[in-house]
Structures are given as structure tokens and as C-alpha cells.
Symmetry: C2
Subunit: 358 residues, 2 copies
């Protein structure tokens, strides 16, 4: 860390400035946050334009109710003064926020950014702002974030939620919620059905002669993980190959690398990993143990976020995270408009992309 920042931070700490500022229960003044410098309000515009405040309001929200030249005059005055409608005041009086929230387990996991981006863009088209939350794979954290966001959003999108079913239902009662990769009846959801791709992967591996296949699992509370695991087991049973399951918990390169030690002690000659990161970790782990890929050991990832970046290029299961993000926003808007789409369930299927690790 560079000097300037150190100084700043140290100074701030010394003054007790580092720590919560807002939030339920936290005092919002007294820590030095100055109230925003008085901005220009509707009244000032009204005066400048020589009209009533209500007319200014109308000029911005329903201009067709005013004579065109009045609208013109008001807008001119507003522009001259640099008037910007106060979001909070508007929200308070209409009960509408114009915000959506999206919570993901890990912004930096390459699976999510394309999805976030797609959701972002879709929300932007509809003129919503999006509040982003990073739960850090922690249900308690996720719960806390929902609490923070719920007070200023029309609705939320929970991607790969780690929350217990019950909590989701609770929250959904307060605010419209759309789920991605989580299947809770009664809550609209977009599911990337990796099961289809996993089944293909097992068949593919069996065909290549693998008799024992390992599934390296992901987060225990992940719907995707359950679904992939179940699909793997089912396909293995059908094809008469043995499937063993090993845990990696937090999906990451490190987790994959670490699980390798266990993996080489088993009968497995191939592995399907919960995601590409884990798969990549396993690849490195295997190589460190002098196992050739795919010669000695075959590996299949999931989500296809690494494309042909790895060495050798990783066989993976396609994902459709952009579509999922975009659809989640559409669904949420639909939900906001008519509370009737209560139980939509959109399934996006996937398929195996064979490269050179299998």
C-alpha cells in the first residue's frame, strides 16, 4: 500500500472514522458525514419559470398535461439552474424506487460477471438502477444484504442463493424476488439446467473407457451442485459406471488443486468438477503429481467460462449465464406489473463442449 493511502486510512482510524456509518441502528450523523450541499429543488425552478411547483412536477412526469410552451419554459429554467429531481423525495411520494437489487455469491467468480452485465443492461433499458451485492458465499451475509436492499428496491434477483428455502419465502413476501439457479416452488426462477450437459459428460467419459468417475462437488447449499450431482449419479447408474463424490465446497482454483491429493487415492480415472475453476485446479494438481491430461486422467469442467484458455483446453459444459441474467430481469419486471406470474420456471438447457482434457 502506498503512503498516501496509509496516511489517509491511519488518520481516519485515529479519528474513529473507519467503521459502520449507516444501517439499521447506526447513527447517521456525528461521524462527520456532511449533509449534501443544498441542491436545487422544484420550488426554485417554479419560481424561476414563474409557475407553481406542481407544474414543474408535471413538466417532468406528465408533460402532456401542460401546454407545450409551458413545458418548454419550465425545462429551460430547470436546465439553467441544473435541476435534478430528488430521487428519494420522488420515491417517498410515489412508493416507487426505480431500483433493482442483484445478489451473487462472488462477483469475482468468472461465472457471474457476464450474468451481472446482462442483468445490468436489461435493467438499464427499463430505466432501473441496480444495486449489487456480494454475499461472499455466506447465507448470513446474503440475508443481511437482502435486508439492506429491500428498503430501496422494487424487487431483487438472487443468483445462486445460499439462503435456506424458508428465508427466501419470507423475503419474497415483502418484495418480489426472482431466483437464478435455485429452484423454490412459488418463486419465479431461471434455471440453467446443467443436468443435461452433465449427463452428456458422463456418457462421453464412459465411451472413452472410464469405469470410475469422480464428481467434485461445489457449495452444499447450491442448487446447481445438487442438480449436477444427481444427474451424474443417474447417468452413471444407467451406463453401469461407478460414480464417487468428493467435496470441494467453495468453488475455486485452490479448492480444486487441494482435492487432487484425495482424488489420486481413488479408483477414478476421470473427474467432472462443479465448475471450471475447480476443474482447472484439479488440472494443475494432477500435473503437479505428474499425471498426464487427458492420458492419465480426464477432466470435465462446468460453466465454460475458461474456454480455450487452459492448457490443454478444458472440456466443459456450456452455460447460458447472460441469458439467465437478462431473463431474470424480464421476469422480475413482469412480476412487478402483474403479481400473477407467481410461479414461472424457466429452464435453459446446456451441452457438453468437448475440448482436449477428456
Amino acid at each position: 500500500m502506498q503512503p498516501v493511502a496509509c496516511q489517509l486510512l491511519a488518520a481516519a482510524r485515529a479519528r474513529g472514522h473507519i467503521g459502520p456509518v449507516f444501517g439499521a441502528g447506526a447513527p447517521r450523523d456525528g461521524v462527520g458525514l456532511a449533509r449534501q450541499r443544498h441542491t436545487v429543488t422544484i420550488s426554485q425552478v417554479a419560481e424561476a419559470a414563474g409557475v407553481a411547483r406542481s407544474s414543474v412536477s408535471r413538466a417532468f412526469t406528465r408533460p402532456h398535461l401542460l401546454r407545450p410552451d409551458t413545458v418548454e419554459r419550465i425545462k429551460a429554467a430547470a436546465a439553467r439552474l441544473g435541476y435534478v429531481p430528488n430521487h428519494s423525495a420522488r420515491a417517498l411520494s410515489t412508493g416507487l424506487y426505480g431500483n433493482l437489487a442483484m445478489i451473487v455469491p462472488d462477483v469475482a467468480n468468472p461465472f457471474f460477471p457476464p450474468m451481472i452485465r446482462a442483468a445490468q443492461d436489461a435493467a438499464d433499458d427499463l430505466d432501473f438502477c441496480v444495486l449489487l451485492g456480494n454475499s461472499n458465499e455466506d447465507p448470513a451475509n446474503e440475508d443481511r444484504l437482502v435486508g439492506k436492499f429491500v428498503a430501496q428496491t422494487e424487487g431483487l434477483i438472487l443468483a445462486s442463493s445460499r439462503l435456506p428455502r424458508k428465508r427466501i419465502l419470507d423475503h419474497a413476501q415483502r418484495r418480489p424476488i426472482v431466483l437464478i439457479n435455485r429452484d423454490v416452488e412459488g418463486i419465479p426462477r431461471v434455471l440453467i439446467d446443467s443436468a443435461s450437459g452433465v449427463a452428456q459428460a458422463v456418457a462421453h467419459l464412459a465411451e472413452r473407457g472410464h469405469r470410475t468417475i469422480a464428481y467434485v462437488s461445489g457449495p452444499a447449499s447450491s442448487w446447481s451442485d445438487k442438480s449436477r450431482r444427481a444427474a451424474a449419479e443417474k447417468a452413471a447408474a444407467r451406463l453401469g459406471v461407478t460414480l464417487i463424490t468428493l467435496p470441494a465446497r467453495i468453488p475455486s482454483f485452490e479448492a480444486g488443486r487441494d482435492v487432487t491429493d484425495v482424488l489420486i487415492g481413488t479408483e477414478a480415472s476421470a473427474a467432472i468438477a462443479f465448475d471450471d475453476l475447480t476443474a482447472h485446479g484439479i488440472m494443475e494438481g494432477m500435473m503437479a503429481h505428474d499425471r498426464a491430461i487427458p492420458g492419465d486422467f480426464a477432466i470435465v469442467g462446468c460453466d465454460d467460462v475458461l474456454a480455450n484458455l487452459t492448457r490443454p483446453p478444458l472440456t466443459s459444459i456450456s452455460s447460458r449465464s447472460q441469458e439467465a441474467g437478462q431473463l431474470a430481469v424480464s421476469l422480475l419486471c413482469e412480476l412487478l406489473r402483474s403479481r400473477s406470474v407467481k410461479d414461472a420456471r424457466i429452464v435453459l438447457d446446456t451441452q457438453l463442449v468437448v475440448r482436449q482434457t477428456s
Copy 2:
């Protein structure tokens, strides 16, 4: 796209539901968005607890002003009723939003997610919510986003802003702004100084015998690009090697691959790319032209987001995007507290990470 979604979207379109809902000038009713179902307010809690509304407020914001048992009683009543403070009302009366905004050119560019995450986490610690914006590398879009966010945030962080200097100064006059990878005097900024790493890269390549080196540039309005390019030129001049510059504009795999055709027509035997994505594209392009790497052509990336994912592993220039994100939030908070840190300039230096493409 799956049937359900198609139906939903088609139906929405038919009803004229797709299109802007909010925003300056857009009517917020009439498009079917129902006002939130009446939530429980401070008054109801007050009545339930048998106290005045102000006491309820105090119980949540400055409990030390109340007798512990009163606080207890109020909180109990609030919990029983499921009371959640209304963010807008609070913001309206305090002038404080508890929100920060962060705008990046491309959420899905792997350079940004770690930075976003770090900023996110830092903001979360300080109990701020963060609004995320994706400018799509478009200044007009970025400008629009700033406008949208300014009305509901204490301050903004612009990462790799593509805005003209003048606009940044304008906006900074309305709301505190912190820049990442953009150097505007008078605006607090965090700069990842890739110049140091680029100089090392040129020296490294010269040492390996390269006499003509190409710099494949990034977005024209990018400070990082200017700075990298200048550093490359300076180092080349000092070492007596020739530097040519080729444009790739939008940093991406495709841009890198496409520039290869031009690249092979030059004298250059090595290239330094604006970022890792572009570098990776060049790698693929070279390989498609049967050029061996690093035998026939050496490549150095920038930002080090691909680590040892590529084949062969890409030599790159380290980045410090997490630190940058975290520091930007700290700086912004400092700025909010005392308008005095007006001209902080934090510089994070970088270095060359030699792998196998050079």
C-alpha cells in the same frame, strides 16, 4: 430462449410494457407498476409500543438517548410488526442516501470484477450500498449513468472513465467523485501505474534481442493506454529499440486476434498488448499463422488477469485492481467527511511477471 420467457416477453411487448419505466421525464405510473403494498411505518410501531414516533426513530438511530428498556420494548414491537425503516424517507429527511455508485466500462472484462468486489466489500463494511453501472465503453452512456446515480448517492467512483475531462469536473462539482485509472488534477484518484511494468517489459524484450517491438493499444480515451504507450516509447528510445504502435481500440480477444494480420506485416518480433485479453487474441492469431510463441514472436500482456491460464502461460504486467477498488472507497469516504482531500493522487506501481510467452 425458452417458451415461457418468449411468451412473457411477447406479451409484455404487446401490452407496450417493454420500454423505459423510470427516469427523468418518464411517467412512473400508468405502465402498470403497482405501488408497493403498504408497509409498516414508524407510527404503527409507535402505537404498538405506546411511545411517540420520534422515540421509535431514536431507538433505531441513536438508542443511547433512550432508556434501555424503552429501546427494548420498541424493538420488540418493531420486530413483531416486521418494521423496516423506509430508506427514501430517511434519505429525504437527512439528505444522506447511504449509497455509493461505481461505473466501469465493462463488467465482464476480467480486469474489473475483482476491483468491483473489493470496492463492494469495502463499501459494505462502511454500510454503504453500491449501485453498479456498466458504461459499455461509451462516454455518452457513462454520462447518462452518472446522471441517474447522482440523485441517490453520496458519491461516485468512476473506473477507467472514458468521459472528457470537462465532464468529470462538472460532475465532481455536484457530487464527490473518485477516479480509478484516470488522472484529472483536482479530482482524487487511484492510479495503477503500469508504466513501471511496461518499462520493465521493454527492457526484458530488448535483452532477449528484440529490436522492433509493437505496442498494441487500447481505448483512445483510456488514461492507462496513454500511460502505457508513453512508457513504452520512452523505454524503447532509451534502449535504442524501435517501437511501433498498432490500434486495437476495444480491448478484447477478438480485437487482438484481428490485429495480428497487420502485426505480421511489420518488422516487430514482439508485442506488448494493452491488456491480457488482447494479448491472448494475438497469441491465437499468431498460432493461426503458424508462428511459434515465443520462438517466432514474443508477447507480453497487461493486468495479469489470465495468470497461467493461457498456453503457453502469458508474460504479463501485474495489476493491483483489488487494492485500487478498496482504496477508492476509502478515499471517497474521506472525501465525504472532509471536503479537504480534494487532490489525493494514489499511485500503485506494477511489475513484469515473466512467464513463457517472451
